[in-house]
């Protein structure tokens, strides 16, 4: 799992990211199996020991869009159930402690984009994930807040999952069922194509749930912290960040786009031990 490397003093071993990959594969597989089991159960052939919940029932964002209806009427938005609320709170607890772990470690759509992006990385090498000029990119990153506001407002006023027909997450796991809308297929197709040029394009520009969880980065307990006294300004952390955050210019990363993937830390990209870490306020 670990490879010995490095010429920089103080570094013995480097993780290659297999632990996060394992967690990502686990949740991707789990969600996929639950979706298949849901379809099997409808035909009476479900696996008894595995959950057969619908994809909507295990989506934490379903809880977010249901808050208004639940508070005002005591009901959930159609297709959403108590389980979505439970998962929403669990993800909030994780986000308060560690930021958007859901995005970087759990979300199957995020993982899918990341894995697909490896093809783009092979094709474009250093140009990959650097196609959009920063002067436009920095504004485009706020689009997802518009998306979040729009979806919450429309769902609150209409009382059903307005986003469903364009939801790439739902489409990714249900494209084989014939239940997906053409809008979802188009959005997923665009994301797959864009993933060849940009890492996690959906997460960066349009994901409403990522937008919400990103806010937790401003006050999360564990933060990405850089120690300027040991930093050699090599920029390895900046290059490793899938969300293009300039870690090397910050002491503490509070950027709303950070997905807590730890790729920038001394455990992975940073060549100097103990320089970029995921730590609490008092943590070294």
């Amino acid at each position: 799992m670990a490879k010995s490397n490095q010429t920089v003093k103080g570094v013995k071993t480097k993780e290659k990211g297999y632990i996060r990959l394992f967690v990502q594969i686990f949740f991707f597989t789990l969600v996929g199996l639950i979706v298949i089991n849901h379809a099997l159960e409808e035909s009476g052939k479900g696996i008894s020991w595995l959950s057969s919940a619908s994809l909507h029932a295990i989506c934490p964002f379903g809880g977010v869009v249901s808050i208004y209806k639940f508070v005002t009427t005591g009901m959930f938005v159609k297709k959403i159930h108590e389980s979505s609320f439970v998962l929403m709170f669990i993800m909030f607890i994780l986000a308060v402690g560690f930021g958007p772990l859901f995005c970087g470690w759990i979300c199957p759509l995020g993982s899918f984009q990341e894995w697909f992006g490896k093809i783009g990385k092979k094709i474009f090498k250093k140009r990959y994930n650097n196609f959009i000029p920063n002067k436009y990119d920095k504004y485009l990153r706020y689009l997802r807040y518009g998306m979040l506001a729009l979806i919450i407002y429309k769902t609150a006023t209409l009382g059903y999952l307005v986003f469903w027909n364009f939801d790439p997450y739902y489409t990714l796991f249900n494209f084989w069922t014939g239940e997906v809308a053409i809008g979802g297929l188009i959005v997923l197709g665009i994301i797959i194509l864009a993933s060849l040029f940009v890492e996690r394009p959906w997460c960066k520009y349009l994901c409403p749930y990522g937008a919400l969880l990103g806010i937790f980065n401003t006050f999360r307990i564990f933060k990405i912290k850089r120690n300027p006294s040991t930093c050699i300004s090599c920029g390895a952390c900046d290059r490793a960040c899938p969300m293009n955050i300039t870690v090397s210019k910050s002491r503490v990363v509070r950027n709303h786009q950070c997905i807590s993937c730890l790729k920038c830390t001394s455990e992975y990209a940073c060549p100097v031990a103990g320089t970029v870490q995921f730590a609490t306020k008092g943590g070294e």
Partner: protein, 186 residues
């Protein structure tokens, strides 16, 4: 305090699955509807089951039980055949039966059941949702429910003839239109 990947992986599994288990223990982990509509909390109809909470997974027997509407009325209202297992018929199945209406921009589905139940029981319902009802359902409502002028007017403009004659006629009209179009193209 510092955190590494392995600790984060453990924390994720621990918090996610213990959170779900805790919700299961407290009875809050539900991934499907209990098929019991919530009750209206305030106003004139407080304590009545709320038709707006009817989901696609509700069976007609659930509706008959909680809203005290005879299964025969539901069967007739939504044009279900005599050999249909009405009690186990799920509201969402209406969309499959009347899927052909989508071409005309109309729909008979779970929303139609909600509207029918609300008007049948004299409960409040937002008529701005533009929901349609089959003609037999409108006839039953006119006969059994105490409808306001506004509701009657709404039903007159939102009823759909689901009789076989109507369906056959519609299909014939479509075929004729296709033949006419082909003739004119030639």
């Amino acid at each position: 305090m510092k955190m590494k990947s392995i600790s984060i992986a453990i924390i994720i599994f621990l918090i996610v699955f213990s959170g779900i288990e805790l919700a299961k223990i407290t009875g809050y982990w539900r991934t499907e509807s209990l098929k019991i509509p919530i009750k209206i909390k305030t106003g004139e109809f407080a304590g009545e089951y709320n038709p707006e909470d009817i989901r696609g997974s509700y069976r007609f027997s659930d509706i008959a039980k909680y809203f005290e509407i005879p299964l025969e009325d539901l069967q007739k209202a939504f044009g279900l055949p005599a050999d249909e297992d009405v009690a186990n018929f799920q509201c969402k199945e209406l969309k499959e039966i009347y899927g052909y209406l989508e071409e005309e921009g109309k729909e008979i589905g779970t929303g139609s059941v909600r509207l029918f139940v609300a008007l049948y029981k004299g409960l409040p319902y937002d008529l701005s949702e533009d929901t349609c009802l089959p003609l037999p359902a409108v006839e039953i409502l006119k006969e059994r429910a105490n409808l306001s002028d506004e509701q009657i007017k709404y039903l007159e403009t939102h009823s759909i003839d689901i009789s076989e004659d109507s369906t056959t006629k519609t299909e014939l009209e479509k075929e004729e239109a296709t033949v006419e179009k082909e003739d004119s193209d030639v």
